[in-house]
């Protein structure tokens, strides 16, 4: 597919020609992406071979919660991107505020997801109900764990950024954390249409 952002991304904005963050985080990111790819493909295969079961299961979900979750994660990712712009400027305070804002927005996702789990579990659906719910709870639950881990990582950065020299000395670590957070967003972007739209 032709690059959609080709015309909008200005190469003059380049701040570094190197991969953002540490190399190790990228191996970790691609390992995580591969695991989720296996889930996504397995889910699609099972969906097409148990169409009625999966369609019935999807009808018990809450698309509004899915929409809120998606918008919360996208917004949180955007706020982290803004925080990284502040970090590149050397504006430690604004970076810290950005990361706090991202955690706050991500907590909307956490509340919304827990609400949806509570409703479904209250209706008697769980991992063992059928294949659809097994996939639903496992994939979204595994992703939920990643969101929580990401929030903890961002919170650690918020605390560490109290130290004036932290930003200068640990910019690469900060970028690694931001890339992990964007990966969590990217995974949800693929998960969302599979579960709520198709």
């Amino acid at each position: 597919m032709a690059s959609v952002m080709e015309s909008t991304v200005d190469s003059s904005l380049t701040t570094s020609k190197e991969l953002p963050g540490d190399l190790a985080i990228w191996f970790f990111i691609f390992a995580e992406l591969t695991v989720f790819a296996i889930f996504f493909i397995s889910y699609s295969w099972m969906h097409t071979h148990n169409s009625e079961l999966f369609t019935a299961g999807q009808s018990t979900l809450h698309p509004t919660a899915g929409l809120i979750n998606t918008m919360a994660l996208i917004t949180s990712s955007y706020v982290v991107a803004l925080a990284m712009i502040a970090a590149r400027q050397g504006d430690r305070k604004r970076c810290q505020q950005g990361l706090m804002g991202a955690i706050l927005v991500a907590s909307i996702y956490v509340v919304s997801k827990l609400w949806e789990y509570e409703i479904l579990l209250g209706q008697g659906y769980d991992l063992s109900t059928n294949s659809f719910y097994m996939f639903y709870f496992f994939m979204t639950g595994f992703h939920f764990m990643h969101v929580l881990l990401g929030m903890v990582v961002l919170a650690i950065f918020v605390v560490c950024l109290r130290e004036p020299s932290y930003l200068e000395k640990n910019f690469s670590s900060l970028e690694s954390g931001a890339c992990y957070w964007h990966m969590v967003d990217l995974l949800w972007i693929i998960l969302f249409p599979l579960i709520y739209v198709i």
């Binding site: 991969l19 992406l33 493909i41 889910y43 899915g66 996208i74 590149r88 400027q89 969302f192």
Partner: protein, 103 residues
């Protein structure tokens, strides 16, 4: 963490940061808009093949925006960008093909 890498990091002029903020904000608005379109398409009583096609095309576009703009892979060595973009295109492509072939 390698401190010398950070020391060598190029710090752009302030005006460029403003452009970055504008670019990220536009990307965020596009992502929100595409999410809304995906939901609307999913609720329409149109043929399933179209829903799958449109929803997965939107997913590819959104994935590309996140990797290029938010992750900042637009300006890194091409092999990394290609690796991420191939994921963003291949995974929805494979899942979409499964849906389209078996449905």
């Amino acid at each position: 963490m390698n401190v010398s890498d950070d020391d060598n990091r190029e710090v752009p002029k302030k005006g460029l940061f403003k452009k970055e903020v504008v670019r990220d904000t536009i990307s965020w608005l596009v992502l929100m808009g595409l999410t809304a379109v995906a939901i609307v398409v999913g609720q329409q009583s149109i043929e399933l093949h179209w829903v799958i096609g449109v929803a997965l095309l939107i997913t590819v576009i959104k994935g590309q925006i996140v990797s290029d703009v938010f992750m900042g892979l637009w300006h890194v060595p091409k092999r990394w960008r290609r690796l991420m973009l191939s994921y963003v295109i291949l995974v929805p492509g494979i899942t979409g093909s499964i849906f389209l072939y078996f449905t």
